[in-house]
Symmetry: C2
Subunit: 340 residues, 2 copies
DNA sequence: TCAATCTCGGAAACCGGTTTCGATGTCTTG
DNA sequence: CAAGACATCGAAACCGGTTTCCGAGATTGA
C-alpha cells in the first residue's frame, strides 16, 4: 500500500501530538467535563491543525448509534407524494446532524434473500427508521421491527397496535371537505375513484365520503364507486366504465392521479371538465395545478417535518410518541362547476 | 439495560454455537477458501438458525470500506431530472450491496459550518460519491474531493481537469436534433430559451443550436435568444419579452420546464402551440407528455445506471474511468406544426 | 500537619468484525 | 516408515473510536 500519506488522521495521532491519551482526546471531542481547560484547548488546537474529524464508523460501532436514519418507501422515488415529503424529512433531520439512508425498495442482499427492514436497520445501526406509504398487504413485514427497540415512525399509513407512531393526514376530513364543496355547488350525485381499501388513507376517505354523502342527503350509487388503484391508467379505466352507464354522477371525487387520468380520458372522448363532469381531487400533487384541478391538499412537506420531529422524540425517550394527524385544505381551481 | 434479549447475535455467538472460532465464521461469511465443506455447512446452518447477519458497521471499520455511496445533488429532490436518475442509481448500486447516503443539499454540521463534500465523505467513510447537476459556480468546492482518493462520478455536469469521470447526455446533439427536425418541418426562424451558460449542458445545447442553425442556413436573431433559467416562471418571462418584438420566430427550442411555462403563458394570452408557435423541448421530463410537448429525451434512468457502473469500476481500479456520453432521442408529440 | 475530598488524566476493556500467520493433523511420496 | 506437502483451523492483532474505573496530585478543612 503506497498511499500512506493519504491515510486519515486518527484519534491516536492526535493523542500522540497533543501528548495525552486517546481517552482524553475522546472526552474533548464529546465535550465531556473533567478535562482541564488548558489541555482541552491544546487538544483542540492539534485537532484543528491536523484537520481531524473522528471516524463515524468507529464511533457508531462503540456507541451503538450511528446518527443515521433509514428512510424506506413502498415504491420508487418517482412518486409524487414522496418527492414532497422527503425534503421535509431531509431538512429536519439534517439540521440535527442525522444523515439519511435511502431505501426505495426491498433489495436482495448478498445471499439473494430479501432484507427484512429490521435486518437492514440493525445492519447499519440506524438510530431510527421512517416508513412511507406502505399498504396493508405489507404490514406483516413490520412486526419484527416493531417488536424491536428501533424507533420507528410511519407516514401516510397506520398500523394497528398500541405502540406505533405515525403521521397521517386527516383523510376523513379531506373527503368531507370535497363532498361539502360539491354540495355547496349544487351537486347531488357523487362518484368516487381512489385506491383500494388496502390503503389506510383511501379507506378513511371512503368512509368520509360515504358519511358526508349520507349526512347531506346526496346520492352515491354503487356503480359510481371505483376503488382499485392510484395511477393515471386507472382514471382511463374509470371513464371507460362510466361510459357504459345510463346515468353519470355530476361530480366525481378522486385521488389526483386518477383524476388527471380521467380528465385526459374525457378530453379524448370529447368531453370536458368541468362542463360535462366536475372533479375534486385528493393530495394536490405537483401536476394537479397543470390540470387546473380543484383538490384537497395534503401538507406533504410538513408531514416530513412532523415525522422527523416525532422520530427524534422517540429516539430520546425510547418510547412511542403520540400519532400526529395533519390538517388538509381545499384548493379551489377550475375543475368544478355549479349545477344550475 | 433490560432488553438484553433483543441484542443482535454477533459473530462470537455463531462461533460458539458452531464450535469454531470467529475467524472461521468470518471466512465462511466471506466465502474464502481453506474451509472444509463440512464445517462450512455447519456454520451456515447455525447462521441461518440464528438469523445472523454480520454487522456492517464493524465490517466497515475493519475492512476500511463501507459499502456506502454518497449521493449529492445541487438542489432539492423536487427536481424532475433527479427523480428519474436516482432510481437508476439506487437499483444498480443496491444490486451490488451498496446503500445510498442521501444529501439533497449542503447542510450545516454540528459546528454550524457547512460541510465540505470531502469531509462528509470521509466522515461516513463512503466508498464513492456521485454528484448530480451542479453548475459552474460551485465547481471550486469540488477541488478537495477531486484531490482526494475518493472515487467520484459526476452526472449531468463536467469539470475541467484530466481525472474526472462523468456521465452526461450528448447535449450538442440534442440541440442539433431539435433544430434539424424544425428545419424538416419548414421552419427557418428559430428561437431559444434555456438555462444560462453556467450550466454545462445548457452551454452545449446553445453551441449545438447555433452551429446547426448556421449550417442549415436558418435564422436565429439575438433577440430570440433567452438564456437564464430552467423553470416555468422563466417561460412566462420569455413570452412576455417575445410580445414586445415586432417579429417572432416560428419555432422555439427550450428546456422542458421553460417550454411548459411558455405553453401556459401563450394559452393565457390566447395563443396556441403549435398553431401560433412551434416548440421543441429538452429533457422529456415527466409532465412533458401532459403538455403534448415534442422534446429531445435524455435517458435519465440509464444515466443513473451508467454513473453507478462507472463508480463501481473506479472503486475497483482506483483510477478515473472514461467519461460516458449518453445518446439522446427526439420524441415527437404535438407541439410542432409544419410551415406551409 | 494530616486526612479527606476533588480534579484531572490514563490504562484497559470493549464494540463486532477481518486478516495474518503459525499449529496441527492428514496425505503423499520415496 | 520418515519426511515433506497440503488442508484446515484458531489465537491474536487490528480497525478507530468510547467508557469505566482507578490512581496521582492538588486542594480543602480541622
Amino acid at each position: 500500500m503506497a498511499k500512506q500519506g493519504t491515510r486519515a488522521t486518527t484519534i491516536d495521532d492526535i493523542a500522540k501530538k497533543a501528548n495525552v491519551s486517546k481517552a482524553t482526546v475522546s472526552k474533548v471531542i464529546n465535550g465531556y467535563s473533567g478535562i482541564n481547560e488548558k489541555t482541552r484547548q491544546a487538544v483542540l488546537k492539534v485537532m484543528r491543525e491536523y484537520n481531524y474529524w473522528p471516524n463515524t464508523t468507529a464511533r457508531s460501532l462503540s456507541m451503538q448509534q450511528s446518527y443515521l436514519v433509514g428512510l424506506f418507501m413502498a415504491s420508487e422515488l418517482n412518486n409524487s407524494f414522496f418527492r414532497e415529503v422527503i425534503p421535509g424529512i431531509e431538512k429536519t433531520l439534517g439540521a440535527q446532524g442525522y444523515d439519511i439512508l435511502y431505501f426505495a425498495d426491498k433489495r436482495p442482499g448478498n445471499t439473494g434473500v430479501s432484507f427484512g427492514y429490521l435486518e437492514k436497520c440493525r445492519d447499519r445501526r440506524v438510530d431510527g427508521a421512517i416508513f412511507l406509504s406502505y399498504i396493508r398487504d405489507e404490514l406483516a413485514e413490520f412486526e419484527p421491527i416493531l417488536a424491536s427497540d428501533i424507533p420507528t415512525v410511519f407516514v401516510d399509513m397506520t398500523l394497528e397496535g398500541p405502540l406505533t407512531s405515525y403521521v397521517i393526514s386527516d383523510n376523513y376530513k379531506s373527503a368531507k371537505l370535497a363532498v361539502e364543496y360539491l354540495h355547496s355547488l349544487g351537486h347531488r350525485k357523487i362518484g368516487y375513484a381512489d385506491g383500494g381499501t388496502k390503503s389506510v388513507p383511501a379507506e378513511k376517505r371512503y368512509q368520509g365520503l360515504m358519511d358526508t354523502v349520507r349526512d347531506l342527503g346526496m346520492e352515491c350509487r354503487p356503480e359510481w364507486i371505483f376503488q382499485y388503484s392510484f395511477d393515471e391508467e386507472y382514471g382511463y379505466d374509470v371513464v371507460n366504465k362510466l361510459q357504459q352507464l345510463d346515468e353519470w354522477p355530476t361530480a366525481v371525487v378522486a385521488q389526483d392521479n386518477v383524476a388527471i387520468g380521467m380528465i385526459r380520458a374525457l378530453r379524448e372522448i370529447g368531453k370536458s371538465v368541468p362542463d360535462d363532469l366536475s372533479i375534486v381531487g385528493f393530495d394536490d400533487i405537483e401536476i394537479s395545478s397543470h390540470y387546473n384541478l380543484t383538490t384537497v391538499r395534503q401538507q406533504k412537506y410538513e408531514m416530513g417535518v412532523a415525522a422527523s420531529k416525532l422520530l427524534m422524540k422517540i429516539i430520546l425517550n425510547h418510547k412511542a410518541s403520540k400519532p400526529k394527524l395533519m390538517d388538509t385544505e381545499l384548493i379551489i381551481r377550475g375543475s368544478c362547476k355549479p349545477i344550475t
